[in-house]
Protein backbone atom coordinates (compact mmCIF):
# COMPACT_ATOMS: atom_id res chain seq x y z
CA UNK A 1 0.00 0.00 0.00
CA UNK A 2 1.32 3.46 -0.88
CA UNK A 3 2.14 5.39 2.29
CA UNK A 4 0.42 8.66 3.07
CA UNK A 5 2.15 11.99 3.52
CA UNK A 6 3.63 12.58 7.00
CA UNK A 7 1.97 16.01 7.11
CA UNK A 8 -1.49 15.32 5.66
CA UNK A 9 -3.64 12.47 4.37
CA UNK A 10 -2.63 12.79 0.69
CA UNK A 11 -0.65 9.99 -0.99
CA UNK A 12 3.10 10.45 -0.61
CA UNK A 13 5.20 10.97 -3.74
CA UNK A 14 8.53 11.55 -2.01
CA UNK A 15 10.10 8.83 0.09
CA UNK A 16 13.40 9.18 1.91
CA UNK A 17 15.15 6.95 4.43
CA UNK A 18 17.28 8.76 7.01
CA UNK A 19 19.83 7.23 9.35
CA UNK A 20 20.55 9.08 12.58
CA UNK A 21 22.80 7.50 15.25
CA UNK A 22 21.94 4.09 13.87
CA UNK A 23 18.21 4.71 14.04
CA UNK A 24 16.38 4.47 10.73
CA UNK A 25 13.52 6.84 10.05
CA UNK A 26 11.48 7.38 6.92
CA UNK A 27 10.06 10.51 5.35
CA UNK A 28 6.96 10.32 3.16
CA UNK A 29 5.62 13.53 1.67
CA UNK A 30 2.95 14.55 -0.84
CA UNK A 31 3.95 16.91 -3.64
CA UNK A 32 2.72 19.99 -1.80
CA UNK A 33 4.59 19.25 1.43
CA UNK A 34 7.65 18.02 -0.46
CA UNK A 35 7.82 21.43 -2.14
CA UNK A 36 7.33 23.15 1.18
CA UNK A 37 10.16 21.20 2.78
CA UNK A 38 12.51 21.61 -0.15
CA UNK A 39 12.53 18.07 -1.51
CA UNK A 40 11.18 18.96 -4.98
CA UNK A 41 10.90 22.05 -7.09
CA UNK A 42 7.58 23.85 -7.31
CA UNK A 43 5.68 23.58 -10.59
CA UNK A 44 7.30 20.25 -11.37
CA UNK A 45 6.02 17.70 -8.88
CA UNK A 46 6.11 13.95 -9.23
CA UNK A 47 8.30 11.25 -7.75
CA UNK A 48 10.64 11.11 -10.71
CA UNK A 49 11.82 14.63 -9.96
CA UNK A 50 12.66 14.18 -6.34
CA UNK A 51 15.96 15.95 -6.58
CA UNK A 52 16.31 18.71 -4.00
CA UNK A 53 17.90 16.83 -1.12
CA UNK A 54 19.79 14.38 -3.31
CA UNK A 55 21.39 17.22 -5.25
CA UNK A 56 22.62 18.73 -2.02
CA UNK A 57 24.19 15.47 -0.88
CA UNK A 58 25.86 14.49 -4.14
CA UNK A 59 27.22 17.94 -4.90
CA UNK A 60 27.55 20.24 -1.93
CA UNK A 61 28.66 23.13 -4.13
CA UNK A 62 25.56 22.97 -6.31
CA UNK A 63 23.25 25.92 -6.05
CA UNK A 64 20.38 24.97 -3.81
CA UNK A 65 16.96 25.00 -5.37
CA UNK A 66 16.42 28.73 -5.66
CA UNK A 67 12.75 28.57 -4.95
CA UNK A 68 13.01 26.21 -2.00
CA UNK A 69 10.93 27.45 0.90
CA UNK A 70 11.43 25.41 4.04
CA UNK A 71 9.14 26.42 6.87
CA UNK A 72 11.15 26.84 10.03
CA UNK A 73 10.58 28.06 13.58
CA UNK A 74 11.32 31.77 13.92
CA UNK A 75 12.71 31.23 17.41
CA UNK A 76 14.97 28.15 17.11
CA UNK A 77 15.10 27.53 13.31
CA UNK A 78 13.72 23.99 13.72
CA UNK A 79 12.31 22.44 10.51
CA UNK A 80 10.11 19.37 10.19
CA UNK A 81 12.98 17.54 8.44
CA UNK A 82 15.30 18.26 11.40
CA UNK A 83 12.59 17.23 13.83
CA UNK A 84 12.18 13.90 12.09
CA UNK A 85 15.90 13.20 12.47
CA UNK A 86 16.03 13.82 16.22
CA UNK A 87 12.40 13.10 17.14
CA UNK A 88 12.49 16.25 19.27
CA UNK A 89 10.80 19.63 18.93
CA UNK A 90 13.14 22.62 19.36
CA UNK A 91 11.19 25.07 21.51
CA UNK A 92 7.69 26.08 22.62
CA UNK A 93 7.37 28.44 19.62
CA UNK A 94 7.70 25.50 17.19
CA UNK A 95 4.22 24.42 18.27
CA UNK A 96 2.86 27.70 16.86
CA UNK A 97 5.01 28.14 13.76
CA UNK A 98 4.75 24.50 12.71
CA UNK A 99 1.29 23.96 14.19
CA UNK A 100 -0.23 22.37 11.10
CA UNK A 101 2.62 19.89 10.53
CA UNK A 102 3.03 19.09 14.23
CA UNK A 103 -0.72 18.64 14.54
CA UNK A 104 -0.59 15.79 12.01
CA UNK A 105 2.42 14.20 13.73
CA UNK A 106 0.84 14.55 17.16
CA UNK A 107 -2.44 13.03 16.01
CA UNK A 108 -0.46 10.00 14.85
CA UNK A 109 1.70 9.63 17.98
CA UNK A 110 -1.23 10.28 20.33
CA UNK A 111 -3.51 7.64 18.86
CA UNK A 112 -5.84 10.10 17.10
CA UNK A 113 -6.07 12.69 19.90
CA UNK A 114 -5.68 16.28 18.72
CA UNK A 115 -6.65 18.54 21.59
CA UNK A 116 -5.59 18.91 25.22
CA UNK A 117 -8.28 17.98 27.73
CA UNK A 118 -6.41 18.24 31.02
CA UNK A 119 -5.46 20.91 33.51
CA UNK A 120 -3.75 24.14 32.57
CA UNK A 121 -1.47 26.64 34.27
CA UNK A 122 -3.19 29.66 35.83
CA UNK A 123 -1.52 32.03 33.37
CA UNK A 124 -3.15 30.14 30.48
CA UNK A 125 -6.73 30.54 31.66
CA UNK A 126 -7.26 33.52 29.37
CA UNK A 127 -5.74 31.65 26.43
CA UNK A 128 -8.08 28.73 27.02
CA UNK A 129 -11.09 31.07 27.13
CA UNK A 130 -9.96 32.82 23.97
CA UNK A 131 -9.44 29.49 22.17
CA UNK A 132 -12.94 28.39 23.18
CA UNK A 133 -14.44 31.67 21.88
CA UNK A 134 -12.44 31.31 18.64
CA UNK A 135 -13.78 27.78 18.13
CA UNK A 136 -17.35 28.98 18.73
CA UNK A 137 -16.97 31.91 16.32
CA UNK A 138 -15.45 29.67 13.64
CA UNK A 139 -18.46 27.40 13.93
CA UNK A 140 -20.88 30.33 13.78
CA UNK A 141 -19.04 31.83 10.81
CA UNK A 142 -19.36 28.56 8.93
CA UNK A 143 -23.07 28.43 9.68
CA UNK A 144 -23.61 32.10 8.66
CA UNK A 145 -21.81 31.51 5.35
CA UNK A 146 -23.84 28.37 4.66
CA UNK A 147 -27.03 30.44 5.26
CA UNK A 148 -25.61 33.14 2.98
CA UNK A 149 -26.02 35.61 5.84
CA UNK A 150 -22.95 37.65 4.84
CA UNK A 151 -23.76 40.59 7.10
CA UNK A 152 -23.61 38.31 10.14
CA UNK A 153 -20.50 36.58 8.74
CA UNK A 154 -18.74 39.95 8.45
CA UNK A 155 -19.58 40.80 12.06
CA UNK A 156 -18.24 37.44 13.22
CA UNK A 157 -15.08 37.92 11.17
CA UNK A 158 -14.51 41.33 12.81
CA UNK A 159 -14.96 39.77 16.22
CA UNK A 160 -12.43 37.04 15.35
CA UNK A 161 -9.91 39.65 14.23
CA UNK A 162 -10.34 41.51 17.52
CA UNK A 163 -9.67 38.29 19.46
CA UNK A 164 -6.70 37.38 17.28
CA UNK A 165 -5.08 40.71 18.14
CA UNK A 166 -5.56 40.11 21.84
CA UNK A 167 -2.24 38.47 22.65
CA UNK A 168 0.07 35.57 21.98
CA UNK A 169 0.33 32.04 23.32
CA UNK A 170 3.14 31.00 25.60
Amino acid sequence: MQPHCDCCSNPAVVHETLMCEGIKSEVHLCAEHAIEQGYILPNIGGASLVVGKLMDKSNPTATPAATRTVKSCASCAMTMAALRETGLVGCPHCYRTLEEELGVLIERTQNGATTHAGRHPRHAAELIDRAAVRNRLTRELREAVSREDYERAARIRDEMLTIAGGGEEA
Binding site: L88, C91, T109, Q110, A113, T114, A117, G118, A124
Partner: protein, 349 residues
Protein backbone atom coordinates in the same frame (compact mmCIF):
# COMPACT_ATOMS: atom_id res chain seq x y z
CA UNK B 1 23.99 11.58 48.68
CA UNK B 2 27.75 11.63 48.30
CA UNK B 3 29.43 9.77 51.13
CA UNK B 4 26.14 9.01 52.88
CA UNK B 5 24.89 5.56 53.58
CA UNK B 6 21.79 4.70 51.59
CA UNK B 7 18.88 6.14 53.54
CA UNK B 8 16.25 3.91 55.17
CA UNK B 9 14.19 2.28 52.47
CA UNK B 10 11.08 1.46 54.46
CA UNK B 11 8.97 4.10 52.73
CA UNK B 12 9.94 2.81 49.31
CA UNK B 13 9.74 -0.96 49.69
CA UNK B 14 6.84 -1.50 52.11
CA UNK B 15 5.47 -5.01 51.90
CA UNK B 16 2.12 -3.95 53.39
CA UNK B 17 1.18 -1.57 50.58
CA UNK B 18 -2.02 -2.18 48.58
CA UNK B 19 -1.70 -5.06 46.08
CA UNK B 20 1.93 -5.49 47.20
CA UNK B 21 1.75 -9.21 46.34
CA UNK B 22 1.68 -8.31 42.62
CA UNK B 23 2.65 -4.62 42.41
CA UNK B 24 6.20 -3.70 43.42
CA UNK B 25 5.78 0.05 43.01
CA UNK B 26 3.75 2.88 41.48
CA UNK B 27 5.11 5.98 39.79
CA UNK B 28 3.66 9.20 38.42
CA UNK B 29 5.72 11.66 36.42
CA UNK B 30 5.02 15.01 34.77
CA UNK B 31 7.00 16.62 31.94
CA UNK B 32 7.14 20.43 32.02
CA UNK B 33 9.10 23.15 30.23
CA UNK B 34 9.73 26.78 31.06
CA UNK B 35 8.59 29.75 29.02
CA UNK B 36 11.45 31.82 27.58
CA UNK B 37 13.86 28.97 26.85
CA UNK B 38 14.37 26.57 23.96
CA UNK B 39 13.92 22.93 24.88
CA UNK B 40 16.95 21.15 26.34
CA UNK B 41 18.05 19.71 22.97
CA UNK B 42 18.40 23.26 21.54
CA UNK B 43 19.73 25.13 24.58
CA UNK B 44 23.35 26.23 24.99
CA UNK B 45 25.18 25.09 28.16
CA UNK B 46 24.80 28.66 29.51
CA UNK B 47 21.04 28.59 28.97
CA UNK B 48 20.83 25.18 30.64
CA UNK B 49 22.76 26.53 33.62
CA UNK B 50 20.28 29.42 33.71
CA UNK B 51 17.40 26.93 33.81
CA UNK B 52 19.11 25.13 36.72
CA UNK B 53 19.49 28.43 38.62
CA UNK B 54 15.86 29.41 37.99
CA UNK B 55 14.56 26.09 39.28
CA UNK B 56 16.89 26.05 42.28
CA UNK B 57 15.70 29.55 43.21
CA UNK B 58 12.05 28.54 43.00
CA UNK B 59 10.01 27.36 45.95
CA UNK B 60 9.00 23.83 44.95
CA UNK B 61 6.55 23.20 47.78
CA UNK B 62 4.66 19.92 48.23
CA UNK B 63 6.86 17.13 49.65
CA UNK B 64 9.88 19.44 49.39
CA UNK B 65 8.51 21.65 52.18
CA UNK B 66 9.93 19.24 54.75
CA UNK B 67 13.37 19.28 53.17
CA UNK B 68 15.00 19.25 49.78
CA UNK B 69 18.40 17.96 48.75
CA UNK B 70 19.81 19.34 45.50
CA UNK B 71 22.28 17.06 43.76
CA UNK B 72 24.47 18.59 41.07
CA UNK B 73 24.70 15.48 38.93
CA UNK B 74 27.80 16.66 37.05
CA UNK B 75 29.69 16.95 40.30
CA UNK B 76 28.85 13.49 41.63
CA UNK B 77 30.80 10.26 41.39
CA UNK B 78 29.68 7.47 39.02
CA UNK B 79 28.62 5.40 42.08
CA UNK B 80 26.40 8.20 43.38
CA UNK B 81 24.81 8.72 39.96
CA UNK B 82 24.15 5.00 39.64
CA UNK B 83 22.76 4.91 43.15
CA UNK B 84 20.21 7.59 42.25
CA UNK B 85 19.30 5.66 39.11
CA UNK B 86 18.87 2.36 40.95
CA UNK B 87 16.69 4.19 43.48
CA UNK B 88 14.57 5.38 40.50
CA UNK B 89 15.21 9.02 41.40
CA UNK B 90 16.83 9.78 38.04
CA UNK B 91 16.58 8.19 34.59
CA UNK B 92 19.29 6.37 32.62
CA UNK B 93 19.58 9.22 30.03
CA UNK B 94 19.98 11.67 32.94
CA UNK B 95 22.88 9.58 34.34
CA UNK B 96 24.70 9.80 31.03
CA UNK B 97 23.66 13.29 29.83
CA UNK B 98 26.45 15.77 29.01
CA UNK B 99 24.22 18.78 29.90
CA UNK B 100 24.37 20.97 33.02
CA UNK B 101 21.71 19.34 35.18
CA UNK B 102 20.64 18.69 38.74
CA UNK B 103 17.99 16.83 40.69
CA UNK B 104 15.93 17.84 43.71
CA UNK B 105 15.16 14.99 46.10
CA UNK B 106 12.60 15.14 48.90
CA UNK B 107 13.58 14.14 52.45
CA UNK B 108 11.69 10.83 52.23
CA UNK B 109 13.10 10.12 48.72
CA UNK B 110 9.60 9.59 47.36
CA UNK B 111 9.77 12.62 45.08
CA UNK B 112 12.36 13.99 42.70
CA UNK B 113 12.56 16.76 40.12
CA UNK B 114 15.09 16.24 37.35
CA UNK B 115 16.19 19.54 35.81
CA UNK B 116 17.32 19.38 32.15
CA UNK B 117 16.51 15.80 31.34
CA UNK B 118 14.69 15.66 27.95
CA UNK B 119 12.45 18.46 29.29
CA UNK B 120 13.39 21.29 31.64
CA UNK B 121 11.48 19.62 34.45
CA UNK B 122 10.60 16.01 35.09
CA UNK B 123 8.65 15.76 38.34
CA UNK B 124 8.19 12.25 39.64
CA UNK B 125 6.79 10.46 42.65
CA UNK B 126 7.21 6.85 43.72
CA UNK B 127 5.42 4.68 46.24
CA UNK B 128 5.40 0.95 47.05
CA UNK B 129 2.49 -1.21 45.87
CA UNK B 130 -0.50 0.19 44.05
CA UNK B 131 -0.88 3.85 45.10
CA UNK B 132 -1.45 5.65 41.82
CA UNK B 133 -4.46 7.71 42.95
CA UNK B 134 -2.65 8.99 46.04
CA UNK B 135 0.51 9.75 44.06
CA UNK B 136 -1.45 11.55 41.37
CA UNK B 137 -3.25 13.76 43.89
CA UNK B 138 0.03 14.66 45.57
CA UNK B 139 1.68 15.25 42.21
CA UNK B 140 -0.98 17.70 41.07
CA UNK B 141 -0.55 19.64 44.33
CA UNK B 142 3.21 19.77 43.72
CA UNK B 143 2.66 20.85 40.10
CA UNK B 144 0.42 23.75 41.19
CA UNK B 145 2.97 24.74 43.80
CA UNK B 146 5.90 24.75 41.33
CA UNK B 147 3.81 26.73 38.85
CA UNK B 148 3.51 29.58 41.35
CA UNK B 149 7.25 30.21 40.94
CA UNK B 150 7.95 29.06 37.39
CA UNK B 151 5.95 29.80 34.22
CA UNK B 152 5.24 26.67 32.18
CA UNK B 153 5.13 26.58 28.36
CA UNK B 154 1.54 25.87 27.35
CA UNK B 155 -0.62 25.93 24.21
CA UNK B 156 -4.44 25.91 24.33
CA UNK B 157 -4.65 23.14 21.72
CA UNK B 158 -1.59 21.03 22.59
CA UNK B 159 -1.54 21.58 26.36
CA UNK B 160 1.79 21.45 28.20
CA UNK B 161 4.52 21.67 25.57
CA UNK B 162 7.27 19.05 25.62
CA UNK B 163 10.37 18.25 23.59
CA UNK B 164 8.89 14.96 22.38
CA UNK B 165 5.39 14.94 20.94
CA UNK B 166 4.68 11.67 22.75
CA UNK B 167 4.52 13.62 26.05
CA UNK B 168 2.57 16.68 24.92
CA UNK B 169 -0.80 17.54 26.50
CA UNK B 170 -0.93 16.48 30.12
CA UNK B 171 2.74 15.41 30.16
CA UNK B 172 1.69 12.71 32.60
CA UNK B 173 3.10 9.20 32.63
CA UNK B 174 1.68 6.78 35.18
CA UNK B 175 3.26 3.41 35.64
CA UNK B 176 3.16 0.36 37.85
CA UNK B 177 5.93 -2.21 38.29
CA UNK B 178 4.07 -5.52 38.22
CA UNK B 179 5.38 -8.87 39.38
CA UNK B 180 3.81 -11.52 37.13
CA UNK B 181 5.69 -14.80 37.74
CA UNK B 182 2.62 -17.05 37.75
CA UNK B 183 1.36 -15.71 34.42
CA UNK B 184 4.80 -16.50 33.01
CA UNK B 185 4.73 -20.02 34.49
CA UNK B 186 1.30 -20.85 33.08
CA UNK B 187 2.38 -19.27 29.78
CA UNK B 188 -0.36 -16.66 29.74
CA UNK B 189 1.97 -13.69 29.67
CA UNK B 190 1.89 -13.31 25.90
CA UNK B 191 -1.89 -13.00 26.01
CA UNK B 192 -1.69 -10.30 28.67
CA UNK B 193 1.00 -8.43 26.77
CA UNK B 194 -1.16 -8.48 23.64
CA UNK B 195 -4.12 -7.08 25.60
CA UNK B 196 -1.88 -4.33 26.98
CA UNK B 197 -0.74 -3.34 23.51
CA UNK B 198 -4.36 -3.16 22.38
CA UNK B 199 -5.03 -0.80 25.29
CA UNK B 200 -2.20 1.43 24.02
CA UNK B 201 0.02 0.63 27.01
CA UNK B 202 3.79 0.41 27.00
CA UNK B 203 5.33 -2.66 28.66
CA UNK B 204 8.97 -2.45 29.68
CA UNK B 205 11.51 -4.30 31.78
CA UNK B 206 12.93 -3.87 35.26
CA UNK B 207 14.57 -0.50 34.64
CA UNK B 208 12.12 0.94 32.13
CA UNK B 209 12.69 1.62 28.46
CA UNK B 210 14.94 -0.84 26.64
CA UNK B 211 15.54 -3.13 29.61
CA UNK B 212 14.75 -6.79 30.12
CA UNK B 213 11.93 -8.18 32.20
CA UNK B 214 14.25 -9.75 34.78
CA UNK B 215 12.44 -11.82 37.41
CA UNK B 216 9.11 -11.39 35.58
CA UNK B 217 8.87 -7.74 36.65
CA UNK B 218 7.07 -5.62 34.08
CA UNK B 219 6.60 -1.87 34.07
CA UNK B 220 3.28 -0.94 32.49
CA UNK B 221 2.60 2.69 31.56
CA UNK B 222 0.34 4.87 29.42
CA UNK B 223 1.62 5.66 25.94
CA UNK B 224 -0.60 8.63 25.13
CA UNK B 225 -0.81 11.87 27.07
CA UNK B 226 -3.18 14.01 24.97
CA UNK B 227 -6.96 14.14 24.67
CA UNK B 228 -7.81 12.90 28.17
CA UNK B 229 -7.55 14.59 31.54
CA UNK B 230 -4.97 13.58 34.13
CA UNK B 231 -7.76 12.14 36.27
CA UNK B 232 -9.07 10.00 33.38
CA UNK B 233 -5.62 8.59 32.66
CA UNK B 234 -4.93 7.80 36.32
CA UNK B 235 -8.40 6.39 36.89
CA UNK B 236 -8.08 4.06 33.91
CA UNK B 237 -4.88 2.70 35.46
CA UNK B 238 -5.91 2.66 39.10
CA UNK B 239 -9.49 1.57 38.60
CA UNK B 240 -9.21 -0.81 35.69
CA UNK B 241 -5.87 -1.74 34.14
CA UNK B 242 -3.75 -2.54 37.22
CA UNK B 243 -6.54 -4.35 39.14
CA UNK B 244 -7.19 -6.40 35.99
CA UNK B 245 -3.53 -7.42 35.66
CA UNK B 246 -3.44 -8.24 39.37
CA UNK B 247 -6.58 -10.37 39.09
CA UNK B 248 -5.09 -12.32 36.15
CA UNK B 249 -1.88 -12.91 38.12
CA UNK B 250 -3.73 -13.98 41.27
CA UNK B 251 -5.88 -16.40 39.24
CA UNK B 252 -2.72 -17.87 37.73
CA UNK B 253 -1.21 -18.24 41.22
CA UNK B 254 -4.32 -20.08 42.43
CA UNK B 255 -4.10 -22.34 39.39
CA UNK B 256 -0.45 -23.15 40.17
CA UNK B 257 -1.33 -24.14 43.75
CA UNK B 258 -4.25 -26.31 42.64
CA UNK B 259 -2.33 -27.94 39.82
CA UNK B 260 0.91 -28.92 41.58
CA UNK B 261 1.63 -27.36 44.99
CA UNK B 262 4.75 -29.48 45.50
CA UNK B 263 6.31 -28.23 42.29
CA UNK B 264 5.53 -24.65 43.33
CA UNK B 265 7.00 -25.19 46.81
CA UNK B 266 10.09 -26.81 45.31
CA UNK B 267 10.58 -23.84 43.00
CA UNK B 268 10.33 -21.13 45.66
CA UNK B 269 12.18 -23.02 48.44
CA UNK B 270 14.94 -24.08 46.07
CA UNK B 271 15.43 -20.39 45.19
CA UNK B 272 15.58 -19.49 48.89
CA UNK B 273 18.06 -22.31 49.41
CA UNK B 274 20.35 -20.98 46.68
CA UNK B 275 20.24 -17.45 48.11
CA UNK B 276 21.00 -18.76 51.62
CA UNK B 277 23.85 -21.00 50.56
CA UNK B 278 25.56 -19.64 47.46
CA UNK B 279 29.01 -18.05 47.51
CA UNK B 280 28.82 -16.24 44.19
CA UNK B 281 25.76 -14.47 42.85
CA UNK B 282 25.42 -12.38 39.71
CA UNK B 283 22.90 -9.53 39.51
CA UNK B 284 20.69 -11.43 37.05
CA UNK B 285 20.71 -14.56 39.24
CA UNK B 286 19.93 -12.60 42.37
CA UNK B 287 16.89 -10.93 40.79
CA UNK B 288 15.71 -14.25 39.35
CA UNK B 289 15.91 -16.08 42.68
CA UNK B 290 14.62 -13.15 44.77
CA UNK B 291 11.62 -12.94 42.43
CA UNK B 292 10.88 -16.64 43.02
CA UNK B 293 11.17 -16.21 46.77
CA UNK B 294 8.91 -13.16 46.48
CA UNK B 295 6.24 -15.37 44.91
CA UNK B 296 6.60 -17.89 47.74
CA UNK B 297 6.35 -15.20 50.43
CA UNK B 298 3.34 -13.54 48.76
CA UNK B 299 1.53 -16.89 48.65
CA UNK B 300 2.42 -17.80 52.23
CA UNK B 301 4.50 -20.82 51.07
CA UNK B 302 7.63 -19.35 52.69
CA UNK B 303 7.53 -18.20 56.29
CA UNK B 304 9.95 -16.07 58.26
CA UNK B 305 10.82 -13.80 55.35
CA UNK B 306 8.86 -10.60 54.69
CA UNK B 307 7.84 -9.12 51.38
CA UNK B 308 9.43 -5.86 52.50
CA UNK B 309 12.82 -7.57 52.99
CA UNK B 310 12.68 -9.11 49.51
CA UNK B 311 11.70 -5.76 47.97
CA UNK B 312 14.59 -4.16 49.82
CA UNK B 313 17.06 -6.81 48.63
CA UNK B 314 15.89 -6.35 45.03
CA UNK B 315 17.24 -2.81 45.38
CA UNK B 316 20.30 -3.59 47.47
CA UNK B 317 21.73 -6.27 45.15
CA UNK B 318 22.14 -3.70 42.41
CA UNK B 319 25.75 -2.65 41.74
CA UNK B 320 25.90 0.84 43.29
CA UNK B 321 23.86 -0.13 46.35
CA UNK B 322 26.01 -3.21 46.83
CA UNK B 323 29.17 -1.18 46.43
CA UNK B 324 27.98 1.34 49.02
CA UNK B 325 26.84 -1.34 51.48
CA UNK B 326 29.83 -3.68 51.24
CA UNK B 327 32.64 -1.44 50.07
CA UNK B 328 33.27 -3.62 47.03
CA UNK B 329 34.59 -1.77 43.98
CA UNK B 330 32.27 -0.85 41.16
CA UNK B 331 33.42 -0.67 37.59
CA UNK B 332 34.47 -2.36 34.41
CA UNK B 333 35.12 -6.04 34.83
CA UNK B 334 34.91 -5.96 38.65
CA UNK B 335 33.56 -9.21 39.96
CA UNK B 336 31.00 -8.36 42.64
CA UNK B 337 29.41 -11.81 42.75
CA UNK B 338 31.17 -12.80 45.99
CA UNK B 339 30.18 -9.69 47.98
CA UNK B 340 26.62 -9.94 46.61
CA UNK B 341 26.28 -13.58 47.74
CA UNK B 342 27.68 -12.69 51.20
CA UNK B 343 25.30 -9.74 51.52
CA UNK B 344 22.20 -11.72 50.52
CA UNK B 345 23.17 -14.69 52.72
CA UNK B 346 23.56 -12.49 55.76
CA UNK B 347 20.29 -10.66 55.04
CA UNK B 348 18.31 -13.91 54.75
CA UNK B 349 19.91 -15.68 57.71
Amino acid sequence: MSGDKPSPLDGLVGGDAPMADCVLSSRVRLARNLVGFHFVNRCSPEQLSDVVHRVQSARLGGPFESGVRWVNVQGTTPVDRLLLFERNLISRPFVESPHPRCVAISADESTSVMVNEEDHLRLQMLAPGMQLRELSNRMLVLDSSVERSLEYAFHPRFGYLTACTTNVGTGIRVSAMLHLPALALVQELEKVQRAARELQLAIRGFHGEGTEALGDFYQVSNQTTLGRSEQDIVEQFAGSIVPQFVEYERAARRALIERDPTALDDRVHRALGVLRACRQLSLEESIKFLARVRLGVALGRIEGVSLGLINQLLLQVQPAHLSRATGCALGNGRDDRGPRADFVRSSLR
